[in-house]
């Protein structure tokens, strides 16, 4: 009953009481792997570790070719603040370190460490398990989360430790555990909740302890009710039901987006240009919570994750724990795919993931899903663009409250100032607009194009400003040099003149003296300076 009411309210955009976010779409779910028990992906022949698997600065390789590494051993040292180290996911020998393609739409590469497994899977035990986390200080735990290489597993891969800060200015009241898997096809978070509920809740408890939060909400959509029950049981088992609440939300895309979820649960919006912490909220993904549990209680660095391997071209889709660095094609072959060439492989979910063009790419921290789609299926969703009929469906679907059709028009005509005026940068690229567009306009693509161009323009602007300052300071320097030179020349000239004048005066004086000497006594007054005369 509540759902129906909610739907009606939502349809009428009368949402303030029901705390739903604006816009959103109902997607076909295609969850082929729902409630399929997870499996362990076998060991591939080679593992590849790009030096950057998170948002922020890249790592610096710590190992040399020929070194033996252990599972969980740090092989990349983090550089700068926004960075986490990377670890080997099994024991083996480093065979080479060279540029290799990473899962990124540009198709560009990064330095990558290649490791050949020796099959022993020996574990590096330098991290001591800390099961009594409650007795530890948040600072210690935070350092543990950092060196375990944990980055947000929901897709954005932002280094997690940065968020887990007890800020004096902004106290975090509520921790949101994001168990919403709004992308179609993907079921990894759902499955993780079914299988590892206790670990996840422990991870959540660690996070709450670290940031000093008094309450937490586990958010789950109503298409995964079984997970809600399992999580509720785990909360009750651990006697945390006083502080941790499980909330079931009606399914709608993109509810898993951090800002949308916060709005759906609390009714509060994250102010533009600020972070959830500013409204006292911290959100974390279930996979991340589990990784935090593993890092703290078991002393394990992050070396694998649960990946949904699915797609309509795959004979036997699975949820698999895949070690980081495993080649994508190898994973798909484990699910019965013959060849990676005849399919389109989507890295991530279909709404926000990208199509991998070269397929020789490793699974990284961001890989929540690998979808092998028939080429025809993908092409059908990328139908040839037709003229915009301004129906406004995109505007209704936009969770950020933008007007995608006008934005895309301005991006297309390269009128980026107008696009910015229509708030291009508030787009979260969820793809809801493109999904509903009857004219098949690749709206998100236009926005990405526009954002890239605007970023370029801004960079150029900064560069131009720097150049101007350099140029101006050079002009100033040259002028100063010129002036100094002139000053010098003038002084030299004056000296010369002075000397000449002095000489002349001396000569004159000499004659005078001679004359005077002839007539009167010698004058004792010194000759007046030439300067005073001139």
């Amino acid at each position: 009953m509540f759902n129906l009411l909610h739907t009606i309210k939502h349809a009428l955009h009368l949402t303030p009481q029901s705390h739903a976010f604006r816009g959103g779409v109902h997607l076909s779910e295609f969850k082929r792997t729902a409630t399929k028990a997870s499996e362990q992906c076998p060991m591939p022949r080679v593992l590849m570790y790009p030096v950057k698997q998170h948002i922020g600065q890249a790592c610096e390789p710590l190992v040399k070719v020929g070194d033996r590494v252990l599972r969980g051993q740090k092989i990349g040292k983090s550089q700068g603040y926004v960075s986490v180290p990377i670890h080997a996911s099994t024991s083996g020998i480093v065979t080479k370190i060279e540029n290799h393609i990473i899962p990124h739409p540009s198709g560009m590469g990064l330095p990558t460490i290649f490791v050949e497994p020796d099959g022993l899977d020996e574990v590096d035990e330098s991290l001591i398990p800390l099961p009594n986390y409650r007795s530890l200080s948040p600072v210690e735990l935070r350092e543990r989360v950092r060196i375990a290489g944990i980055a947000g597993l929901g897709g954005a891969v932002f280094p997690t430790f940065i968020k887990l800060l007890k800020d004096k200015l902004h106290s975090i009241e509520t921790v949101i555990l994001n168990g919403i898997e709004c992308e179609p096809w993907l079921t990894n978070d759902h499955q993780l909740m079914l299988e590892k509920s206790h670990q996840i809740i422990t991870g959540l408890d660690i996070v709450m302890h670290m940031v000093g939060a008094q309450s937490a909400i586990v958010a789950i959509e109503d298409n995964t009710m079984d997970a809600a029950f399992v999580m509720q049981n785990a909360v009750e088992d651990m006697k945390l039901s006083q502080v941790i609440k499980v909330e079931v939300l009606p399914t709608i895309y993109p509810q898993g987006g951090e800002k949308q979820l916060i709005q759906a649960l609390t009714g509060k919006e994250v102010p533009a240009g600020r972070l959830p912490i500013h409204i006292g909220v911290l959100s974390t993904n279930v996979g991340t919570a589990k990784a935090i549990h593993d890092a703290v209680c078991l002393g394990e660095a992050m070396t694998e994750r649960l990946v949904t391997v699915s797609g309509d071209a795959l004979p036997s889709p699975k949820n698999m724990f895949v070690r980081f660095g495993t080649p994508v094609c190898f994973v798909l072959e484990q699910c019965g795919l013959d060849s990676c060439d005849d399919v389109n492989i989507i890295h991530g979910g279909p709404m926000m993931g990208e199509i991998l063009r070269p397929t020789d790419i490793p699974v990284v921290k961001a890989s929540n899903g690998l979808l092998a789609m028939k080429k025809a299926t993908v092409m059908a969703s990328h139908h040839e663009e037709e003229p915009c009929i301004r129906c406004g469906d995109c505007s209704d679907a936009c969770p950020a409250g933008l007007m995608p059709n006008l934005l895309a028009m301005h991006c297309k005509e390269e009128q980026f100032e107008r696009a910015e005026n229509y708030q291009l940068f508030d787009c979260i690229e969820c793809g809801a607009c493109s999904y509903v567009c009857p004219s098949h306009i690749p709206l998100v693509h236009y926005f990405r194009f526009g954002k890239g161009q605007v970023a370029k323009i801004r960079r150029e602007k900064v560069f131009a400003e720097e150049s101007r300052q350099r140029s101006e300071s050079r002009d100033l320097r040259l002028r100063k040099e010129q002036e100094e030179k002139e000053e010098k020349r003038r002084i030299a000239q004056e000296k010369k003149e002075a000397r000449a004048a002095a000489l002349a005066a001396q000569a004159a004086a000499a004659t005078d003296v001679a004359d005077e000497a002839l007539t009167e006594t010698v004058s004792e007054k010194p000759a007046p300076t030439p300067k005073a005369e001139s």
Partner: protein, 194 residues
């Protein structure tokens, strides 16, 4: 008689209006040209001199004074030209020179004789070195103006294309027919013959 009266009334009235305007023109007199600042802010500040003026600021002054067309800034490219034309309220004009990929200067150090001539030529002071020492270019600050090529006596300076990096990578325009049409249409609309 009436004719004379009306003539004198009209003349007197005209005189009054004239005096009023003369006072207004003094009172509302505008000093300087704020427009030149705005144009200067749009220019890429490469100081390359390809416009025929010694640097960006002089060109901005000239454009603001309507002495020169808006299409002489080659490094700024079409976008800058359009922005200036828009600000000036004049018709856009195509830039004659081809748009090229951004370049930076690079000194082959083993050939450099340390003459310091390029250092003097660089408009943004981004070449470092001392007499009889190898010179080198701070790539991050080089505007690619090519002004250092000319004075080099041993031709040891190359202009290299700026390598694309992951951070600077930007999405290209969608590959659909309509996207291409959109760009063409934009050109047509702006009156540029492509």
């Amino acid at each position: 008689m009436h004719i004379l009266l009306s003539l004198s009334v009209f003349s007197g009235f005209a005189l009054l209006v004239g005096i009023g305007l003369a006072f207004a023109s003094r009172y509302f007199h505008v000093e300087g040209d704020p427009l030149a600042d705005k144009i200067d802010a749009l220019l890429p500040q490469t100081q390359c001199g390809q416009c025929g003026y010694p640097g960006c600021r002089p060109y901005a002054n000239a454009v603001a004074a309507l002495e020169v067309d808006v299409n002489h800034c080659v490094p700024g490219g079409e976008r800058t030209m359009l922005q200036i034309a828009d600000m000036m309220g004049v018709e856009p004009k195509a830039i004659e020179a081809e748009e090229t990929a951004p370049v930076v200067a690079f000194i082959r150090e083993d050939e450099c004789i340390g003459c310091t001539l390029c250092i003097k030529a660089c408009p943004v002071d981004c070449i470092i070195g001392a007499p009889k020492q190898y010179h080198t270019i701070i790539t991050d600050h080089c505007t690619g103006c090519t002004l250092c090529l000319e004075p080099c006596p041993v031709d040891c300076i190359d202009m290299l294309e700026v390598p694309e990096t992951l951070e600077k990578w930007a999405w290209p325009v969608p590959g659909t027919e309509r996207a291409k049409v959109g760009v063409e249409r934009k050109h047509q609309h702006e009156g540029i013959d492509v």
